[in-house]
């Protein structure tokens, strides 16, 4: 482990913490603009976090310790996920701790805890949201795994840093399978981040909501942590997408100059990605909950086709 590695790890974590609300604000702003509404400030998520952290946290009468612990666990999971995804540099001392499979496991851990906490208080909305979240989750996870396996086949490793090193710093090659898995990954990320075709992140108290209904009972600092964790999750998914499909610009080990350049490149890529997300959300209508399994099933099958194309074209 080098000092530079430590530095890039620290930079990645700090960047994720600071940038995640900005990314959410950017997406919200573009979505408002595309829908002819007056856009909120780019810094609105920071104001909301500041407000929530200063408010008193109210707990339900019968809430168990699990309800209180869940926000911290979820936030920790998302932060660790952001720390092991190569965003600025592939020289991350933490990344040997978890490969692509463990990363999916981290997301699953967060999901289990937030669902348990939603059921803990015993409100109708919380239970309903938790069940729907599990429905989305158990279909989205295999699809995400298949997408990651497709990239692993190319680089012969499930470690995210190795995948990025292989894709970004070897001779430029077009992998046709990435076209299919890219579509699959987009579908999975829309579902996992509670975005429009599956869930609407803007509504409170609507019968079709999933994510919002699970955090209805939270307030104050707990709600702030959960909101922050949701932004971190969005950032993490965007960064996985960028790392797999557009890895150019992520610095290698022992390259301090490239590390400096990596930040503006990442910001530009995230800005374009956020705009595209807002565009997708504006163009598509929310689907019925019963259509979600079909949607995610297609994502899974597309990812499987990606694997098959890899085998046919003899990539691995």
């Amino acid at each position: 482990m080098s000092w530079l590695g430590l530095l890039s790890q620290l930079m990645a974590i700090v960047m994720a913490l600071l940038l995640a609300p900005l990314m959410t604000g950017w997406v919200n702003q573009w979505r408002a603009r595309l829908q002819n509404k007056s856009a909120p400030s780019l810094l609105q998520p920071y104001f909301v976090l500041h407000k929530l952290f200063n408010k008193e946290s109210v707990l339900a009468e019968h809430a168990s310790p699990l309800f209180r612990a869940a926000p911290y666990i979820v936030f920790g999971c998302m932060l660790l996920a952001c720390a092991i995804i190569p965003t600025l540099s592939t020289d991350l001392p933490l990344s040997p701790a978890a490969d692509a499979i463990a990363l999916v496991g981290l997301f699953a851990l967060a999901r289990v805890f937030i669902s348990l906490a939603a059921m803990d208080v015993g409100t109708a909305f919380g239970t309903m949201g938790a069940r729907r979240e599990m429905l989305v989750g158990f279909l989205a996870e295999p699809a995400l795994l298949m997408v990651l396996f497709c990239a692993s086949m190319v680089s012969r490793s499930t470690s995210l840093t190795t995948i990025v090193e292989t894709l970004a710093h070897r001779e430029f090659t077009i992998y046709p399978s990435f076209l299919v898995t890219g579509v699959a990954f987009t579908m999975v990320s829309l579902a996992e981040n509670a975005r429009v075709p599956v869930d609407n992140p803007e509504t409170h108290l609507e019968l079709t909501m999933i994510h919002e209904s699970m955090i209805l009972e939270y307030s104050g600092r707990h709600l702030a942590l959960l909101e922050w964790a949701a932004s971190l999750k969005l950032l993490a998914y965007s960064c996985i997408g960028l790392a797999l499909f557009f890895p150019w610009g992520i610095a290698e080990a022992n390259a301090p100059l490239a590390l400096l350049l990596a930040l503006p490149v990442l910001l530009a890529k995230l800005a374009v990605g956020g705009f595209l997300l807002a565009l997708i959300e504006t163009l598509s209508a929310k689907m019925r909950v019963f259509r979600v399994p079909e949607f995610l099933g297609s994502a899974f099958l597309l990812a499987v086709i990606g694997l098959l194309v890899n085998i046919l074209l003899g990539v691995s």
Binding site: I174, Y175, P176, L179, L302, I305, L308, L312
Partner: protein, 220 residues
Amino acid sequence: MIIKLAPQLVNLAATLILMLSFAMISQRRISSLINLFTIQGAALVAASILLGYVTHQPDLYISAALTLALKVIFIPWMLHRVIRKLNVRWDVETLINIPTTMLVGIGLVIFSFSLAWPISRLSHNLAGGSLGIALAVVLLSFMMMITRSKAVPQIIGFLSIENGLVFAAISVTNGMPMIVEFGVALDLLVAVLILGVFMFQIREKIDSLDIHKLEALKED
């Protein structure tokens, strides 16, 4: 640069065509189905131009121009007109439900890939791997013709089979003889025109485009 990347780009176009066939299977709306078919035609045009440029075969440009005129411009325009006139922009009904169809589709893809894999190992062609993909596109479109009960999706399935065949021809044998190419294009044009007239007639006679209503011989 483009010469070196050409096989990968052809494979990319092949994968795009395969993905679009798959999207067609899962698509319920007729107008989106026609749009997907248009994009598939455009991917085919791109693949032909690329192969023509790399292998220095000007006939492939003519083939690309034919595909562009017919499958990207004329046929989609005509189909859009037909569904507007017949007022059939409603949801497509399928015989088996869509997830099952897609699972069967994956089976077909595995079957055709494993069939074409030994051949592509042997070939020293520019795009040997695309034979399997072309075969998969043909089988998937065939399945779409079988599973759909309405007339317009069946026609699109038929046209999509032709897309797969043309792609196999240009990628494996570097293009059919020009006369065959022209013949197929003419056939296709006539077929679509006749099918278009047929749809109006079917609609007039039985008041629906559901093919199953044709199975009974007399009205009851």
